[in-house]
Symmetry: C3
Subunit: 345 residues, 3 copies
């Protein structure tokens, strides 16, 4: 059970309600009024808890689980223990996520502005929005409705923020337009100058960075991630993209919709990711490239060329993944051969 | 045109003025009094805007551009469309940068200390300096003239900062001396303890870190970058060096003048970079090494040995770049061979 | 000598006192009452300073040092210059660290709460604890005795912190239990949501993260490091572990006691490190793995499989270190051969 010190469970909810919010179908023998009080993994769940089976690896845990209810794909329903109430769905993990959201809704904003916040009189703050202690809101800023701005956030002049957006503690924003339902985690830096300068024997000459950062709706940006504003064009984070912690996004980078960028990855200036691109952890992408829709970059890979749509690449410099692992195998084989030969010499 | 919500254009300026601030030469047929209102790229610029040609790749865009004026190398001037006013220079990108700086000067400090800032009475703040809301300035701190200290910055006891320096939101500084015209971006951490401890079966024993961080004039330090103070000697960032976001600089590291360290690179303790060293993104340098003047480290490289002046290295572990790409080619060839041989078996 | 602007030396102390606090043994000919005023490296130390010899590489420096006193292994004592007072110990660096701690004790907390701090009336703060300017402490928080909470820190509702713990400037904590004598550096992010969501064609669905972060006693967490809370189980940082700057620790990660994680390394979700595991800089560990006790991961390595206890791995994907360097040598040899053959073709 989640620690009640930090988590307050809503509910209980009937199975009927949970089926409705998750678009799952109650199996025919299930009592719709059965009450569910919590979520739990298969091996810990009890009779008032709901769990999920999303991976065939866990079918045994499913078959012996004491969970009162479970989201499961119809094809695996026959493996359920007797007495378990089944909620049938082709996307059990998604259904579980929605049930967990119902039982553990995000904390609601506590409308109002803390007395130690400093809000410029020309800023406009929407109804139901919470402005935490120590927050600084600059001139001409607009913040939508039902936002939560955590303590010690700094929002620079004229930034615009949509509705239902959350800004984590100690984050700072400038030169940006932020959409609705965006989650910006603590310590994020958005909108600072990109890394642009002209070389000169007498010292570098900074090039003014005259673009913005556009963060579309439903984006998440992980803790201490940095997103520089554009140099002239904008830096754009497409709708629904998920960015993890400590990611670097350079000036003029454009992410399409629903991209995933895992922790400590970096994208150099002016590179474009089409929709549904995935960068695994610590991947690095050189500047001025295009990664086609659905391209995937493995962890720690270094991408120096365009990646076609749908292709998966790996290595530094990155290759198509099959070729990469072929090279890994080749080198291993040759190196083992070496050992033998060395003994023969 | 840059979004007027965030950017205020100065000017207009005459070509004569722009030629003067950029050290460019007006072509003989140009009207010195022609007014320029903005900067723009070649393909977007109009008759009151100035652009630049810095790369032969864009000569066609230059020849068809509608820009009213353009910085260009004398050798390419003959490719200009008729009617375009030319400003001749051997460094068109630098000239463009200077013109853009004239048209978009950095925001001036708004002298004074915000009422919610907490400044120790023993701190001394120079004339014309702005101290933002929520800033905390410790005992004995000295801050020069015309600085901008953004909101929620923390400056620990006795830190010294020169003139015309900018500290971004939520940054924190301790045990450091910061020069003139330094730009420290939001979330930067300077002067905390280095990672130094003695091993012991009963637990690690921390070694007091008794050095400082010295940041010389004209340095830039990117968002959320961390620079540890020295263990005994100092950590030094040489004059005019440009450090990008999320960079790690360990204790006792010394950077010469005009080094460039791209995002997410890391430099381990006691390593020394001579002047004009360049580390590309996500490069890592082991401790106690020396990189000679003008050495270049490719992206994601891992440097485990000294790098001679002027040499470029690549790979992990890093090799001279020619050798690295030779090995890449060798492995690709052998791996293709493997496939063939496998079929023959 | 450390800059008195930033460091205040305690003492002087007699050799007898320093021997006692470091568990070293005074050599037979040493005057126990000799006064030591400072620490210094062998080549800079003078007659009132104490140094150490920990590495045979520096025996010459030891033999010519002017240090008044020195920690040294008994086996090397005979190399000392005449007149140097010797403190004999099998762990000279540890002894030096303890002597330096005595001479440069960490700044004591200045008990009390700054007037610009915002502390919820339901929070409980221990005796002797300092709460800096701009700190925000949420409902139900408990902070132990003699802690130092630096300016502009944000501590979210119901977080618990032990005794003698230091939280650096601008850090933010939520959903966590922090032990005694923990050092959290500036800009650290602890307890935010992990990176967990269910894929869905209509957009990702966030999975509520219902675990906590547990930081055990004597842990250090470097500047701008991020530690996500668990998804259901907890994220745990074991006793005495040392984590450097800009490290990413994903949800459900468990570190045993006395692990070392060097700067910019990353650990993906649900991976477990047993006691005394060492990750060098920029290493990356995939999710759901186990690294056995004493395992070592070289810098920039990418670990995709479990690592047995005591094993050292290197490379991306990581291999046992001997095998890795064998492959490096093989490829170098084959590539040189290539060059020759190419000429022969």
């Amino acid at each position: 059970m989640p620690d009640p010190r930090f988590f307050t469970v809503a509910g209980p909810f009937t199975l009927e309600h949970l089926a409705a919010v998750t678009s799952a179908e109650l199996a025919s023998d299930v009592a719709p009024s059965l009450l569910i009080r919590d979520v739990a993994p298969l091996d810990h769940a009890g009779p008032t808890e709901i769990s999920f089976l999303d991976n065939r690896k866990y079918v045994d845990a499913f078959s012996t689980s004491k969970a009162g209810a479970c989201f499961v794909h119809p094809d695996l329903a026959h493996r359920a223990p007797s007495g378990m109430a089944l909620l049938l769905t082709r996307t059990p993990y998604k259904a579980y996520a929605l049930a967990a959201q119902a039982l553990y809704p995000p904390p609601a904003p506590r409308p109002g502005t803390a007395t130690t916040a400093v809000v410029d009189p020309t800023a406009r703050i929407g109804e139901g929005t919470e402005i935490g202690a120590g927050v600084v809101v600059g001139a001409g800023v607009r913040i939508g409705r039902r936002c939560r701005i955590a303590p010690n956030v700094v929002i620079d002049d004229r930034v615009m923020i949509g509705d239902d957006t959350v800004i984590g503690a100690c984050a700072s924003l400038s030169h940006c337009l932020i959409g609705n339902r965006v989650s910006i985690y603590p310590g994020v830096r958005i909108g600072q100058d990109g890394f642009g300068f002209a070389m000169d024997p007498a010292g570098f000459v900074r090039v003014p960075q005259l673009g913005r950062v556009i963060v579309e709706d439903d984006v998440e940006i992980g803790a201490n991630t940095t997103i520089d504003r554009g140099a002239g064009p904008d830096t754009v984070i497409g709708r629904g993209s998920m960015i993890d912690n400590l990611v670097q996004i350079g000036h003029n980078v454009q992410l399409g919709a629903s991209c995933v960028v895992v922790a400590q990855a970096g994208i150099s200036g002016s590179t474009r990711l089409d929709n549904h691109v995935v960068l695994a952890g610590q991947a690095g992408i050189a500047g001025h490239l295009t990664l086609g829709a659905g391209a995937r970059v493995a962890a720690q890979s270094g991408v120096m060329r365009d990646v076609p749509a749908g292709e998966e690449v790996c290595g530094s410099p990155a290759l198509p993944i099959k070729q990469f692992f072929q090279q890994v195998a080749t080198l291993a084989r040759l190196s083992r051969g070496t050992g033998t030969r060395a003994r023969e010499d």
